[in-house]
Symmetry: C2
């Protein structure tokens, strides 16, 4: 039986991925030197496709790293001397905050309860904070903050850097890069790719901050500090031998998305998410976890379950529907359903027919 | 025309890799959760196969990271408070040393000229050094230090930690893990796999050192510090979503190697390296770069070329033989030929027929 993975990542592979891998093997992509012109062409194609797809302005650089978790570490190392401020409303925003603690910074934590988002007027960023860290789409709870919210934060704090976790909302989230300094994601979610690649999108202000820390003799890391990443990226290269296959595949799936058109992908995403929330609103066994509609993620849909979710998840798996469990303490009380470009309206409909 | 990659890594894929990838796709390895029991089984199988293959004792842990370059950073972060000592005789040992500088340590540099190795009696390790970093096989110059040399270093400095770079010699190098504390490699060389995975093999003393630095409030990194890596590895998990496919493939190729038997792989490696060095000794256009025979690597064979190597390399490429150029300043004066398990005696013979 063909399974469909609705898990929040790793998830179902985008349908073109197997053919792209076959092609990569045929073309020796995994054997070529990462210093060769062929690799540089791959780097450039992926970077350019990504910039076009996500409408990333020219003053931003694209860095390829190992994971979104690594992105959190590198951003704190390179953009914070003493203090970052973190909007924490779930496990991944908490991880970003804890990363700053691990790296011996003195981060500010601004909390909302799990399942909630933030209201601008309730947020007081410390004056001496250098970086505001926002988890735009909290994968653990299914709460999304609007791109407008992020733009307003930036307008209020133009002198501070803003870093945005879009791990589970890219490419759906319509960020306005004029109002942020740094964003990051990994490829095993919205791009439907095998895990093992993270992407940092960082503007000149982030580079300048890293350089100023370096000049003050702070430890900003080694091969993956921003000046090193930039120096290599300007040559379409990387410091280390990177995950060449993943960089190649990301470029190919970006090209596929460009062919579908991002506005169509976004429209489809919303049609599917509306269907999912409507179902959970109206079914006696379920209840959307996020009560405030404006905070509901379109890409990670979280529902409370009346009975233990684990048995329901195992039953669904037997029918080929692989659904995510709740995160952490909610493991057995929630289900999480990913709504990525890989998940077609037909996939979602058949899931809902089954759940009904 | 089928090409053969004799490049020092990335290199030719091991012949079973394409089938393992196909199988992984068929079994949804790229979609399963990295918190699932299926992932834990993959982690365990790879770890166990690796420990059997390389005869790694029980008091060592296996950590999966992004690259060998990352390994250098993590080892310095976690095993050095102030000073590491580096035997530097090429670009990669130099990188290890520079990593320590980047991380604000005060490393000791012990140099040998490129193309040379080290004699024990010439080495004076500073008394206050905490970690001795040895590049067992210098990929840039084709110089190897014997496993015995490393064991003797450890006997002379039992109180210090020893970290060994075996990036381009694993699994050939017959290390005695009783006489080292940490080793690391990446998978795109001796394992003939796609790049994007590094492996750290670290014993309890390394963990204790990291813990003691952590207790003293030093910055030892975040998600990939040794205590975090250990905590997750003990559950057969990783902190971040890792390169699941690469971990799976490494386990499979280890199993393939176990079937061939490592002693047979080592024997074949030496037969091929003897043939290569003999050829370069006797051909008027070539001369082995490493003069002292006992320092000659069996896995990375470097030869000087009488004329510019670039034109010779392009001609060979047209015949399907992809050969590595010299490293750095030697780019146009050397060729580098990888002699990994993927390279059969027949491959090497046909290369030599062509070069003749």
């Amino acid at each position: 039986m063909k399974k469909i993975y609705f898990t929040p990542g790793p998830t179902e592979l985008y349908p073109t991925v197997a053919a792209h891998i076959e092609n990569a093997l045929h073309e020796d992509i995994c054997s070529i030197s990462h210093r060769s012109s062929r690799f540089k062409d791959i780097f450039k194609a992926t970077r350019d496709n990504l910039k076009i797809l996500l409408e990333i302005p020219d003053n931003f650089h694209i860095f390829f790293i190992g994971s979104a978790t690594e992105a959190m570490e590198r951003i704190i190392e390179n953009c914070v001397q003493h203090k970052s401020s973190h909007l924490v409303n779930g496990a991944f925003s908490e991880r970003f905050y804890k990363t700053a603690l691990d790296l011996k910074k003195e981060p500010q934590k601004i909390m909302a309860s799990f399942g909630n988002g933030f209201y601008e007027h309730e947020i007081e960023i410390d004056a001496d904070s250098e970086l505001i860290c926002v988890t735009q789409n909290e994968t653990s709870t299914g709460v999304a903050l609007s791109p407008d919210f992020i733009s307003r934060m930036k307008r209020r704090h133009p002198e501070k850097l803003i870093a945005v976790d879009v791990v589970s909302s890219v490419p759906y989230a319509a960020l306005d890069y004029k109002f942020l300094d740094c964003a990051f994601f990994s490829v095993q979610k919205g791009f439907g790719l095998p895990a093992g690649l993270g992407v940092i999108i960082a503007n000149e202000r982030c580079i300048q901050k890293a350089q100023s820390l370096q000049e003050k003799d702070f430890d900003i890391g080694s091969y993956h500090n921003f000046p090193s990443l930039l120096k290599q990226a300007q040559k379409c290269q990387t410091s280390e031998t990177p995950n060449v296959l993943a960089i190649y595949l990301l470029g190919k799936v970006c090209a596929d998305y460009l062919q579908s058109g991002l506005s169509e992908i976004r429209k489809q995403t919303e049609i599917k998410s509306v269907a999912l929330y409507e179902f959970f609103e109206n079914h006696p066994q379920y209840k959307p976890f996020v009560k405030e509609e404006s905070f509901r993620s379109h890409t990670i849909i979280v529902s409370e379950t009346i009975s233990e979710s684990s048995s329901m998840i195992s039953r669904a798996a037997k029918q080929g529907f692989i659904i995510g469990s709740g995160y952490g303490n909610y493991k057995n009380r929630h289900i999480r359903i990913a709504n990525f470009p890989v998940h077609s309206l037909d996939n979602v409909k058949s899931l809902l027919v089954y759940l009904r």
